[in-house]
Structures are given as structure tokens and as C-alpha cells.
Subunit: 793 residues, 2 copies
């Protein structure tokens, strides 16, 4: 690996490096102050116990690496007039980022109560990891950050996502050597295979080897330097190592200069075959902090990970160690009489939006609204329910093709998928774009191009992380994935939802476009892949997150899917989950009726109901495409077996409408709920997912005890599509039976009716056993209106 | 990269390779037959449409790579008498593994209805991906498999887990180049930093570059061979490439021979510094299948991923292509008149348990029960509730130390953690063992050793995958992790639970030791880390999985934790989740009372209740350590404010007891439930997790409308421990208020009582605002019995 410095610096360079060092000391001082001090921020009085916080929280170990990097990036930003964003993998060292933003003046601009003076410094210190203050992680409150850093592994994916379609931008990405052991980070190194050298921005990884995690050494810091270089080079990078702590400023500056020169060559297209530049930074953990405590090495050891000096209020010797540590940064040289940075230190910063802490992209301020087509123009013609068959996601693909076309010049829409885009029937997009791919292509390849707007890699983690980075910098996207494997990113979406929730109350952040999921290849049509592909629980996970930021939609057919997707692509600040099928299925609603139904989120389907103007004996409710089909078929079964039973059909698209209003902003009032589901009649609810989710949503609804949910009970594995329903009691026959059993006036006939249904089920079972396929009657079922005079009236 | 073959083979080798080829052809024939044929398995009649399945499902593309690898492994197993297990990353090619097991005779031994004759072959074909048959993935029904392969990314981690503490074993691991793009697989390559060269078994990765995923080329197949070699070498491997398709058998055989020689040298300790051997196998996707269909290349293309020939029943030309494809393997040379393999083919297999399809470790048959200490011997002395303070996980650490000691000679217990073992206060283990680590150590390191029994890597995916591989081969373990980040492995545990459920009905599999989680550093004590570390939803996820295999425990103190952990370590075939705190907290139950309480799973704590022999006005229920503490404190608040209110305290340890019996085997009868929670009194339930989980468990219980759950509502972020409770209404004051509000006879006094509670809350808020810390009264709260005559009576 190239190791810097290689040449002696000039006098001018030395002067610049002196400023870097001063800035670094100032940022370190301010970081230590945040962790420890409640008052007396400049030590202008003798340091006393009561100046120290009673609960010492924060992470010191990673701070000096962050501040060092920040200082050196500022040097080149100023010199070259660059636009740089910083993604901080070790986001738990947020004290460093707060310090940097305060030194740059951004903090005081965004938080006027934290001025650039002694009182402001005291406020900065006090609020850190303090009740009512700011977290010790790089939360949305931290200026310039798009990355929290609490759950490790996503920094490089976020940086890559931020770089897509941002050609002028450099996204510096500090990666901890602990984080580098995670799966998502390990996979992220392959980014150069997907990032265009000049149509996308440049990602500049800085792998910080400080050697230790919480309590263990790190793998990458303990392998030979050449092995590490080979690891990085083999994934498309060209690393430069900075390891000379005695001359760290010279080495870091020279390495950064070289990286920028290489980035420039790559952008000009004159660096054929070269890897993308990056830096490997070796400095001691907790550098410049206490060297030893109680005879144990702390600097350069895992012991500096959190708070290196504890018991400071109680132990005067420790208090004095803290004082010496603070004084070692020579604050009197760094801060003026008013407590702000000295004029020369204050002036040493990039201007305005060039400050990394003030980057408008990081604050979601750079956005262009999508130009979206009219959903009605991409609909299936449905004159009457059930007349046509279509593949819902394929129809959506047509809409997305048009959306890609309309936004091509803005380059602000990307579709992500883990090698499933075509499998999920969204391939119409390939009429107008390709898959983004920088590696060589071969004859048998299809739809690959270095600038494609479909991004496919067989990693849900990368799809999610890249999309998050893309959205957090103000652009738009959709992530389509097999429903079962959405769980791979459970933890990532939970973190993103938390980010959105907090960001929503940070006034200088503009709400960013929503994170949109299309879950398809869903549980009811994974009969051929078996149990591992059958899990509808992602929506349960989503609905356990804060209602302010979560939405779940189950459009029953193609036109409702297109309407919902269009709606979701127009929203901001949310996580939208859409579940829809890709198989040929009956269509129910015209574009116009789909729009009306989806806008309500749920409603009675009178055209499918048989309760006329009278009172229903039973409500058949449904959510999801397969449950809707089975529910409508159950109406037929009931009409045939017991034509006097009055059935009301309710379809739910927006699942969150089932919540009471206090639990979700979309929640239906109890009065409206009762109007739809009746006050006291039995409700048989055919649900796409786990049945208990519906109970969780509705346990506090009137008439809840009369609600009977049929859904996925983890039965089935390998069988036929219809048999999947049968095994989970979600098929038309079980639904009809459940309805019949709950109509009291049928009691006398029930035995007979039940037997007729069991006969049907036996006929089905025999056919499946014999042929391996479903009865033609259920396989090719089509809807016939119970209202011959006008089904869709 | 070394590329084989390098030398010409001998005549004897050629003969052996002829057998390899015959076996390969036979396995391919049998795989194609499984995908396509319903009958006429040996083509002894002219192939007609009705011989073909009506639903064609399965994955052909990966099959020839699996069968080729299986054949070559068999060659060396026979020659060298090796014990080899095979983990198949592309487990969706299960047809290949079924074929291999049938050829080896194992299939017919385990499934007598699938004999080694024509009728058996027909049964083998028909059942594949057929209703009532076996899945198209390497499910638990597949002999020799421990890996389903449906959700990609875990093969190498499973293989590594299987190799830990199995010194004689070679775990061959076929890795797809699609799977290699996932995060977990990318991280898994670092296994040599953790696997002992001879105290553990050898993992032999075979990276199969067939070039394509479902629809895209793969990254690793498109980078230069030398770059790929550097990637693998830099992570501790020494790859050999097999790419000569014209001489594939010679090349593969020579490469395997070289790998085995290197494994032997490593085991003898004479291969200092060398990487671990592995193979890079380049063969075309869908090799030996149809070359072109409709003018499109299929062999060597993504088009061979699933079923390369469709529409076979309908199109006679396609039917003939299928016939030609089958005939190309020359079945008449491979199968005798009875339809079984010819005598020479049948004889060409390893003996008995040396067959990979009959490996007893893969079937969970090699197990040694843990020798566990008496939990009571590792308990905290608690003479009366609240008298002592202890850290629950630290007490468990003491128990685990003893467990490690007692099982050291059996080498069948490992503890896994993502760099959190010591942070989670389990460090007593380091009195008797260390962390497993093969890289160089330095002065500041602590507790590292190449043979340590604590396995730490900063990847929840690796901890989970390694532990799963260890358990699936019959050994025991515990995974301790921060509660919030358990979501990282949501999808993995869902897949493992599905495996356990299915495996439970496969008679030749012995139930393997349970997957045990200790979730600590939990939501209520992440006040300092903030929002990203606050998520109690992993138990929601677990409880959405099948009740047969899922258990969740919330022990309220140290002695209950030790009892529960001891119980879990003794179970098999389950996923056990234990949630417990690591902070100093009051202790309530002696070892004896803890045992009785945990055995019941829940119960009335009479010693904490104030309802005497009469009827309670209100039930205060609790689950989790912090909710229990706040509930007991609420009893004090109530006793002070309204001493006439009669309170019953119920504590729940085993959460699944709240289910009705039909929903979970641990479910309490409605009668017992009513006896504990009363028939009609209000229940204020203080819960560790999301409140709606309790409603989901109990929506079908009598008196459910009277149940009021307080739990985590995602409020808090950075604050004090007690303030976390206050912000989520889980603190003693809110609990007391909730109780008071629901006792009708207090109505007249309620305004006054409410004000007194609000005053307390205001006092708390003021203290936090001023000092950043909790009121001493709540910070150092200790339990005082409401029964002065004998608290624990």
C-alpha cells in the first residue's frame, strides 16, 4: 500500500498544517468538554467537582479520528472549493461532529441558543447526552449528518447512495474498523462495480483503524498492511495508508491531495483501470486522551472506547487528570476572551454551504419534485369487476417506465431490487433504461449499462442502504423485493423510521422523499419455493414503529396498486409498504373507482355484497389480493349454498385505517368503523398476513369480539396456490363455512351446509393429490356479479 | 490463482474419473427427472405429455455444479476415508441433493417408500416440489443437509459453525456467486481469523462461479481472476481455480487432492502462514442442459436459472427436447433393469455414515448433554425481597463460567457475542476461558486465545450463523446481544425457526439443542445511547413464528434469570429468547422461590400485594425487570396515597403463558387466567416491550377490555433511566395513577390524588432538568414490604 508522507512539505503547507492542528485541538477540546463539563467550559475558574456532569456518557475513543479527518477535509475543501459531505460510520462519536459544527459557526446559526461564545460553549457542553439535549450519536439533530451510526454497518452504503446521481459531490465516508466486520459493510466495498466514475459522485472511504472495538481488537487492524491493501484493491479501491502518528498532518494532507488528484483524473476519464482512491488511517484509539489510568493503558486501547476517566466528581486526582487533559489542548490559544474561536480559527473554515455541517443535500434541501404520470393513463380497462385478468406488478411496471422517462433529465429516481426486478414483473422499465453496471458485459447479458436507473445487487442490505442514502439526500426511489426476505432489512428500516421521526421535528431539515417498498412474490404465491419464501411479517414489524412515519397498503388489484404507488411516490418523510401480487389475477376496479376506493383506504363493495338495502347477516372483510379473490369467491359459494344469507363485502387497502384515531393519524373513527363493519354482526376477515396483526390493530374497537380473522398460519410449504389457502383456512370454502357458522338462523341447516363444503374440500384435495395441480374451477375462477343488472354500479 | 489441472493423470486416475463422470451423469439425470417427470422415469416408454408434470417447478441452473461437486467429494471421501459434510449455499437446487442421496442409498433407507428401483425413482421424481411431497429447496427433509438455502447468505457461516470443535471433520461449503454478493456471506470470508487450524474442523469453501443470478451477471464472476484470488487470499484463504470445462474432472480432482494435502499440512502444524485451501469453480450455469431455446442461449446463461424448457406438455417439439436432454446422460448405462443404479454405480459410494447424505452430525445424532450446574448454587442470597442489589447478567456470568468449566472436556458449549460479552456483564467467563482469536495479539489485549470458548466478532449475522451451524450439528450455545440490534438477525431466526418446525417432523433427525438468546442492554437502560439503541420488538417478531418452537422469558431479577437460562440450555428444538438487565437492580426472589415462580411461568406475588384475603380493587401485572421494579414501587405510591386500595401484584416470566391454550402449548387455561388476573377487575399491565404485544397475546381472553398496558411507545431517546419510564408512562407514578383512575369508589378523591401524583412528576422533571440525573428517591429506590410481619412469606 502507498504510505504517506513521501515528500517534505513546503513552508506554506507547514503553515496550513499548523492551522489544521489548531482546529483539531479545538475540536478535541470541545468534544471532551461535551462529555464532561456542566459548567466552567473554558476553565477560567479552577475546575471543581460541581462543574462536572454527574452522569458521564459519550464515546471518546473514536473522537480524535473524526476530528482529525474533519480538519483535513476542511483544508482541501477550502483550497479546492470542493463540495464534500461526510458520512461518519462511528456516529457514536457525535461530540466530534457537534464540535466541528460549532467551530464552523453552523451550530449557532441553526441553534441560536448555542452561540459562538462562552455561554454558547457552556450550552453546547451541557446539552450533550443530557436530558432534553442532544444524543451522543450522530442523530438528525447533528448538522450535516445523514447517518446516525448507532447500529453499525451502513455508512459506506449510505455514502454510496448519496453519491448516485450527484456528479459534482465527494462523499467522504469514515468507516470504523469495528463496523468493517459487519456483513453489510463487508458487502459495501463492491460499490465501484455500480457507481459511475463521473456521472455519479465520488465516494472517498476513510477506513479508520484505531485497532479496537468495545473490548476486542479488530480483524482489519491485525492483518498485515499488504493483505489489507489487497482486500481493498480487489474490490475496486486504490488505498493510501496514513500511519505515521509523528507526522500525521503531513501524511494525511499528502494522502488527501493524492486522492483528490485521482478523483479528478477519474472524472476526466484519464484514469482507465485504476481503482477508486481511498485512505487507510491508522491512529491510536482515544489519541490525545489520558495515556494511562490506574496503571492500565487507555490511549491506544479498547479502554478508551467510552469515557476514559470515570469517578471524576468523587476523586480529586481524577478531576485533576481531566483538567490536565483539557489544558493539554492549549485552549487559551484557541478561544478568545468572549469564548468563541479566535478570529484566525473562526476564519479557517469553508464558506457557507461548503461547510460539511451546512451541506444542503445532507439537510434534504436539494429536491426536485417527481414528474409523475396520471395513474389512470396506466390502468387496466375494467368495465365490470372480474372481466379481465392482469398481473398487477406488470401494470405498475408500465407506470414506472413512464415515471423514469419523465424524470430522466433530472436524474432523481432510481429503482432498487436484489436481482428480482424482472422476476417481480417490473421489466417494462427496461424499455427506457437498464441496470447500472460498471463491469464488463457478455453476449448473454441483458439490459446492463453503466448509467442504468435500475440498481440490482443480490443484497437487500445494499439495496436498502443505497436507497436510504439516495433518499436522505433528497431524491426518490422504490425498493421491490420478495416479501419474505424484506425481513433481512428489519433493523435497517427500524433505524430509518427512527431517523425520520426525529428529523421531522428538526426545523432546518426538509422532509425527504419517503422510503417506498413494493413487497411482491408474496406468501400466497410461494407454493413452489416452499416455507423459506413464506413470511408476511414485514408489515407487522413496520406497524410496530411510530405511526407518524409508517403506512401499509394492500391494493387488491392492478389499478389500485398503481394508484397507491403513485400516491406513495408523492409523499415525504414516511416509510410506505405496498404488498401486491405479480401473478395473473382478476381485476375489480376501473381506474376511477380504484382512485375513489384507495382515497378512502377501505370501504364497502356494494357491487359484491348481497345485503341489498337491508341489514347484513355477516360481513366478509378482506385485505390483500389473494384474500380479496377468495372472499369474492366465498360470496359465490354462499350464494349457491344459502342464497338467503345477506353478505356485506368490505375491502381494506390502507391497513392503518383500522387503528383507532388515537393510535394512528389514518385511524378511522369508531363511528365510521361501525358504519362499515356493522355494530354487532359477525365479521369474517380474510387477511394477507398473520391473523393476529388484525387483532392487534382492532382490539380496542367496538364489536371486536365478533371479529374472526383468517390469515397466514405458517402452513403450506410446497403445494399448489389454492392449497396454500386451504391449509391456512383462507380459501373460499373455509371463509364461507366460517360465515355460515355465525348466522344463527342457519343453525338447523348448518350440518348439511358444512357437509357440502367439506365435500368440495375433499374434491380439491383429491385433485391436488392426483395431478399436483388445483381444480380447474378454482384455478381459472372468474368473478360473476351477484347483481345481474349492473355489477359495478 | 493456481489453476488446475497442471499434470496429466495416471491410468488409475482416469478410471476413477470415469466413475465420477458416470455418477455425475446419473445425478443430473435424476435431477432433471425430478423437475419434469410424473411417470415413465427411465423413458422405457415413449415420452408422452402425460408423463410430464403440469406445474414445472425447480431450479436447474445450479444443479450441475452441485452434482459435480458431490461426485468429486465422494471420490476423495472413498479414497482417503474422510468425514465430510456438505453445506450447499444454492440449496434451491435440492433436486441435486435428493439425487445424490438416492444414488448413495440413503434416501431409500430413510424413506422406504422411495426404493432404489424404477418405482422408487418414479416416487422420487413425483414427490419433488409436488403437493404433499418435498420442497425444491434443501429443506430438513433432505438427507445430509443442515442448510435450506432459500434465503441466501448463510452457507459459509453455517459451515464455519459446524466446523467449530469438530477437529476431524471437513465441512465442504458450496457458495453461489449470487449468494456471495450478500452482506452475511461477504463477512463470512473472515472465518480463518476465528477457526483454529486443528482444534476445529476444516472448512473447504467451493465458490461456484456459474456467472449468473436470476437475471443478472454476478460481480465475482466478472472481475479478473487474479483480483478474485487477491480478494480471497487477503481474507485468509488460498484458492485454487478449476475452470477448464474440457477437462473438468481432471482439474477438479487435482484441485481437491491439493486442498486435502494442504488441510493435512495445516492440521499437522506444518503449513505456517499459509492460507486455508479453497476452490474457485468456473462452470457454465445449467451446464449439460439445453443449449438454446427459441434462439436464446440457455446453457451458460441466466435463462437456465429455473426451468429451462417450459410448455413441455403442450408443445411436442419441447417434449422431444426434454427427451433428448434426458437421453444425453445415457441412462441405459447408469440404471439397471430394476431401475436402480447399476451395480458398479451403486458400489461407487462411501460406506455407511461416511456418505455425506448420511452424516450423523448433520442429522443431529452426535450429541452430548450439557453438564450444567445447579442454578441455586449460582444465586444471590435473597432473604427478603428488595434487600439486596445485584446485576442479573453478572450473576448469570458466574453460572456460565461453571457451565463452561464442566463441559470443557466435551468441547460442546460456545458463547457468542458481537463484541458485547463483557459489556453485557458476562465477563466471569474469562476466569476460565478466552475469546477465540487466531490473529496476532498485543499488549493491551485481554482474554484472547486461539481456543477460547467465547466467540466475538462485530457481526450479529456471523454470531447467529456460526451458532446455528454449531447447534445444527448437535452442540450447545448462547448468543448474548444488545436487545435493539437483535433485529439484525430477524430474517435468520425466522428461517431457523422454520427449519426447526419442519425438522421436528422428520423422524431421522434428532432434535438439536435450542437456539438461546440473551437480550440485554435493553430498551429501558439505553437512555445514554438514545433512540437507535431502543427497540424491544425482537420478541414481537419471535412470537409471530410457530408456537411449537418459540419461547420468550422476561425474568425480573438475577435468580429468575439463572433459572430460566439453565432451563433453556436444557431444551431442544426451540428458539428461546431471554430478556434481562445488566444494571444493578433490586432482587426479589430467593433461588427456591425463583425456581417455583419460573416453573409456573407467572403468578401472584402475595408478598407484594395488598389485597389480603379479600378481593383486589386492581391488579398490577408486570413483565420485565424495570416494569417489575416500577410496579412494586407503584404499590408503595398507592399505599401512601390511598392505603385503602387493595392491590394484587402479578408477575409474568414466561410470556407465552398469556396465550390461550389453542394458540401456544404453554397457554394458560381461561380458568387459571381468570384466577390470576381476576374475572372483572381492572388490570394495569406494566410491560417491557411494545404494549400492543400484550393485547395481541390476550385479545381473546375474558376481561380483556379491562386490560390496560403500559410499555414502550418509542419515546425517550437521550435522558435518564427513570425519565425513560416517565416518558412512556411506565413509571411508578403513572402506573399508580392508572390504577387509581380505575377504582370507582375513589372517584370523589381522584382529583386530589391525581394532583399529588402530578406534583411528584413535576418534582422529578425539575430535578432532571437541573442536574441531568434522577431524583435520589427513585434512583436508589429499595423495596419495603407492605407486610411487616414477613415479606417473603
Amino acid at each position: 500500500m502507498t504510505v504517506f508522507p513521501m515528500t517534505a512539505p513546503s513552508d506554506a503547507d507547514e503553515m496550513a498544517l499548523g492551522r489544521v492542528d489548531a482546529w483539531w485541538r479545538a475540536a478535541n477540546y470541545l468534544s471532551v468538554g461535551q462529555i464532561y463539563l456542566l459548567d466552567n467550559p473554558l476553565l477560567r475558574e479552577p475546575l471543581r467537582a460541581e462543574h462536572v456532569k454527574s452522569r458521564l456518557v459519550g464515546h471518546w475513543g473514536t473522537v480524535p479520528g473524526i476530528t482529525l479527518t474533519y480538519a483535513h477535509l476542511n483544508r482541501v475543501i477550502m483550497r479546492n472549493g470542493l463540495e464534500v459531505m461526510l458520512v461518519t460510520g462511528p456516529g457514536h462519536g457525535a461530540a466530534a461532529l457537534n464540535a466541528a459544527a460549532w467551530l464552523e459557526g453552523t451550530y449557532s446559526e441553526l441553534y441560536p441558543e448555542v452561540g459562538q461564545d462562552e455561554a454558547g460553549m457552556a450550552a453546547l457542553f451541557r446539552q450533550f447526552s443530557f436530558p432534553g439535549g442532544v444524543p451522543s450519536h450522530a442523530s438528525p439533530q447533528v448538522p450535516g449528518s445523514i447517518h446516525e451510526g448507532g447500529e453499525l454497518g451502513y455508512s459506506l452504503a449510505h455514502a454510496t447512495g448519496a453519491a448516485f446521481d450527484n456528479p459534482g459531490l465527494i462523499v467522504a465516508c469514515l468507516i470504523g474498523d469495528g463496523e468493517a466486520e459487519t456483513g453489510p459493510l463487508a458487502a459495501s466495498w463492491q460499490a465501484p462495480r455500480f457507481l459511475h466514475p463521473w456521472r455519479d459522485g465520488a465516494v472517498l472511504p476513510i477506513l479508520h483503524l484505531n485497532g479496537y472495538k468495545i473490548a476486542n481488537p479488530t480483524v482489519l487492524s491485525r492483518i498485515p498492511s499488504e493483505q489489507l491493501a489487497a482486500y481493498l484493491r480487489s474490490q475496486g479501491w486504490d488505498p493510501i495508508e496514513v500511519a505515521d502518528t509523528a507526522q500525521v498532518h503531513r501524511a494525511y494532507a499528502a494522502a488527501l491531495d493524492e486522492c483528490l488528484a485521482r478523483i479528478e483524473r477519474i472524472r476526466r476519464g484519464t484514469a482507465h483501470g485504476a481503482g477508486r482512491p481511498m485512505i487507510v488511517l491508522r491512529t491510536p484509539k482515544g489519541w490525545t486522551g489520558p495515556s494511562h489510568v490506574d496503571g492500565h493503558a487507555v490511549e491506544g486501547s479498547w479502554r478508551s472506547h467510552q469515557v476514559p476517566l470515570t469517578n471524576v466528581r468523587e476523586d480529586p486526582a481524577r478531576l485533576d487528570m481531566l483538567r490536565q487533559w483539557l489544558v493539554s489542548y492549549r485552549p487559551e490559544e484557541l478561544f478568545g476572551t468572549d469564548g468563541g474561536p479566535t478570529p484566525s480559527l473562526a476564519a479557517w473554515r469553508p464558506g457557507g454551504e461548503r461547510r460539511m455541517s451546512a451541506n444542503p443535500r445532507a439537510h434534504g434541501q436539494v429536491q426536485r419534485d417527481l414528474r409523475l404520470p396520471d395513474p389512470a393513463a396506466h390502468s387496466v380497462a375494467v368495465t365490470a369487476p372480474g372481466e379481465v385478468t392482469a398481473q398487477a406488478t406488470s401494470v405498475l411496471g408500465d407506470y414506472l417506465r413512464e415515471a423514469l422517462l419523465r424524470n430522466e433529465s433530472n436524474a432523481n429516481l432510481l429503482l432498487f431490487a436484489p436481482d428480482e426486478h424482472a422476476s417481480n414483473r417490473l421489466d417494462a422499465a427496461f424499455d427506457v433504461t437498464s441496470r447500472r453496471w460498471q463491469l464488463p458485459t457478455q453476449d448473454n447479458d441483458q439490459y446492463l449499462s453503466p448509467t442504468g436507473r435500475v440498481v440490482e445487487v443480490l443484497s437487500e442490505h445494499l439495496c436498502q442502504g443505497w436507497l436510504e442514502g439516495y433518499l436522505l439526500t433528497g431524491r426518490h426511489g422504490l425498493f421491490s423485493t420478495y416479501e419474505a426476505f424484506a425481513h433481512v432489512v428489519d433493523s435497517m428500516v427500524a433505524q430509518h423510521a427512527k431517523w425520520l421521526l426525529t428529523a421531522g421535528s428538526v426545523p432546518w431539515r426538509r422532509p425527504v422523499p419517503s422510503l417506498n417498498y413494493l413487497l411482491t412474490s408474496h406468501v400466497w404465491r410461494q407454493d413452489h419455493n416452499g416455507a423459506s419464501h413464506q413470511d408476511p411479517g414485514f408489515i407487522d414489524h413496520i406497524l410496530s414503529k411510530r405511526p407518524e412515519v409508517t403506512r401499509v397498503y394492500l391494493p387488491p388489484d392492478a389499478n389500485t396498486l398503481v394508484w397507491v404507488a403513485d400516491h406513495c411516490l408523492r409523499t415525504h418523510g414516511q416509510v410506505n409498504v405496498i404488498v401486491a401480487g405479480k401473478q395473473p389475477a382478476p381485476q375489480y376496479l376501473s381506474a376511477e373507482k380504484a382512485a375513489a376506493h384507495c382515497a378512502q383506504g377501505l370501504g364497502v363493495w356494494e357491487w359484491a355484497s348481497t345485503d341489498g338495502d337491508g341489514e347484513a347477516d355477516v360481513v366478509l372483510a378482506c385485505a390483500g389480493d389473494v384474500p380479496t379473490m377468495e372472499t369474492l369467491a366465498a360470496v359465490h359459494v354462499l350464494a349457491e349454498l344459502a342464497p338467503d344469507v345477506r353478505v356485506r363485502v368490505v375491502n381494506v387497502v390502507d391497513l392503518t385505517r383500522l387503528f383507532t384515531p388515537g393510535r394512528h393519524p389514518h385511524g378511522l373513527s369508531d363511528q365510521d368503523f361501525t358504519e362499515i363493519f356493522t355494530a354487532d354482526q359477525p365479521v369474517i376477515f380474510a387477511f394477507h398476513g398473520y391473523p393476529w396483526l388484525i387483532h392487534q390493530l382492532t382490539y380496542d374497537r367496538p364489536n371486536h369480539d365478533n371479529l374472526h380473522v383468517h390469515g397466514f398460519r405458517d402452513r403450506g410449504s410446497t403445494t399448489t396456490p389454492f392449497d396454500m389457502c386451504v391449509l391456512n383456512d383462507l380459501d373460499r370454502f373455509h371463509l364461507a363455512l366460517a360465515a355460515l357458522e355465525r348466522v344463527p338462523r342457519l343453525a338447523a341447516r348448518l350440518g348439511h351446509l358444512r357437509q357440502r363444503i367439506l365435500d368440495r374440500l375433499a374434491e380439491h384435495a383429491e385433485c391436488v393429490r392426483r395431478t399436483g395441480d388445483d381444480l380447474p374451477a378454482v384455478r381459472d375462477w372468474t368473478w360473476h356479479s351477484p347483481h345481474p343488472d349492473g355489477a359495478n354500479s
